[in-house]
């Protein structure tokens, strides 16, 4: 199993790099959105494609390891966890790109007031992704378990965003298009935070062998 371990360690290292890319794409997405920087969209798209291809490559290598070595015990859990985290990374990258597609919507008329809740949601989501990454790298179940509480904050922010948008649209129906844009951006961020929680749940499974069940 020496070869298995070597390849698994390589995959883990590349996964860590990929998680760093994820932080980067989220940073670019936030600054492009707040500054309504249309040029940022291309960079986000490029990064999303790169992340997608890398997740597919690592997934294939994981499948090869299963075929070659039929791992069990922690080796099996590490592979399952890695494959699931790859799916979460792919989705978070894709949501960043989806958010960037709304930037042109604000190009002509600018933001509705000074964007406050969305940057807070982005910060909180980024924080969660960072915690998820740390919990995986350090194999720390306590850190992973803290993600659920962090996710509640994102949900609260999303509720606030919804109320704010309703007020904007009530006051002027012309705000509707941008309002819907914010709502969807908020929803994507909320989903990204959920994927960070998923990563944490998978880290708990890796360490403890217990599946985190949520109804």
């Amino acid at each position: 199993m020496e070869k298995f371990e070597m390849e698994m360690n390589k995959i883990s290292k590349e996964l860590e790099v990929l998680m760093g890319n994820l932080e980067e794409i989220m940073d670019i997405t936030l600054s492009s959105l707040v500054n309504i920087d249309i040029m940022g969209i291309n960079k986000i798209k490029e990064m999303d494609i790169m992340i997608y291809h890398k997740t597919k490559e690592l997934e294939t290598r994981c499948v090869n390891l299963i075929l070659l070595y039929s791992p069990v015990a922690k080796d099996l859990r590490r592979l399952i966890t890695t494959m699931k985290i790859l799916m979460d990374i792919d989705r978070i990258g894709r949501y960043s790109y989806d958010i960037s597609l709304f930037i042109p919507r604000f190009y002509e008329k600018g933001h509705l007031g000074k964007p406050e809740i969305i940057p807070k949601m982005v910060d909180q989501t980024k924080k969660m992704v960072r915690i998820a990454i740390k919990s995986f790298i350090e194999e720390n179940a306590d850190i992973a378990e803290s993600l659920q509480k962090e996710d509640d904050l994102v949900d609260d922010l999303f509720d606030k965003l919804e109320n704010e948008i309703i007020e904007y649209v009530k006051s002027d129906i012309n705000n509707l298009e941008r309002g819907i844009g914010y709502m969807l951006i908020g929803k994507y961020l909320e989903r990204m935070a959920d994927h960070a929680v998923n990563i944490g749940d998978n880290v708990i499974y890796l360490i403890k062998g217990e599946k985190v069940i949520k109804l």
């Binding site: 039929s70 069990v72 015990a73 922690k74 099996l76 859990r77 217990e210």
Partner: protein, 248 residues
């Protein structure tokens, strides 16, 4: 429900313990695998069940093994060996015809008419998934069969005695992958009617066909649970190391 129970059972020589205070349940109509590295005591464990240990010079034992809630030492050894068949690592057919290999056991255990004997031989070969391959050559020497066929013949020979339990000690270790697959498929089929005890050091084989796995190391049962539990989340560090090939 358990059909065999070990209670504080140990086997030892003058110098060392080969099995150390074994407490283990063998569950009915399941594939019960005893998994462990070479020299861990796996074979001694199965040989204890059909009372081969007590006739092995230099070995002593204490503790109890129960078969159907009665101590195995209260049965006649022949009766235990009829009800609990043993298939060895190397196929070991007798130098008789295929028919006589299967008929041999029933002939010495029971007084049977020739047509009854034929019925038993046929059914045993069918159960061992060998009949279709040999039905026209039952008088041919068993030694003319391939290794995989010989092993299934040995299984048929055990089945002919109408056992409740079949113990298989590394039954595929001398076989090619195709023959191994056939034996594994057969084991899964046989558990519907019989209790299977499988001895193996092959983790992948244990994963493919076991319902329960007991991990044995240095003569001790380190861990015993449902196969999926032990394979996905072993509780003991030594089990984890063995399963992931990091032991020693």
């Amino acid at each position: 429900m358990s059909i065999i129970r070990f209670r504080n059972y140990s086997v030892y020589t003058k110098d060392r313990k080969i099995l150390d205070n074994i407490n283990l349940e063998i569950f009915e109509n399941n594939v019960n695998t005893v998994l462990g590295p070479s020299g861990s005591g796996k074979s001694t464990l199965v040989r204890s069940i059909n009372r081969l240990i007590e006739i092995t010079p230099g070995l002593k034992y204490d503790g109890e093994i129960y078969f159907k809630d009665k101590s195995i030492f209260e049965y006649q050894p022949e009766e235990i060996r009829r009800q609990i068949g043993l298939v060895f690592q190397q196929p070991n057919p007798f130098n008789f015809s295929i028919f006589e290999n299967v008929a041999f056991g029933p002939r010495i255990h029971w007084k049977l008419k020739e047509n009854e004997l034929e019925e038993i031989v046929k059914n045993s070969l069918i159960e061992a998934a060998l009949y279709e391959e040999v039905k026209d050559n039952l008088k041919k020497s068993a030694l003319s069969l391939s290794g995989g066929q010989q092993q299934r013949l040995c299984i048929a020979r055990a089945l002919a005695l109408k056992p409740l339990v079949i113990m298989m000690d590394e039954p595929t270790s001398s076989l090619d992958p195709i023959a191994m697959n056939k034996i594994e498929d057969l084991i899964i089929k046989l558990k519907e009617k019989y209790t299977i005890i499988l001895i193996t050091h092959d983790v992948r084989q244990a994963a493919r066909i076991s319902d329960f796995i007991a991990f044995i190391y240095n003569g001790r049962i380190i861990e015993h649970s449902k196969a999926e539990e032990i394979l996905e989340k072993p509780k003991n560090e030594i089990t984890e190391k063995f399963l992931t090939d990091r032991l020693g």
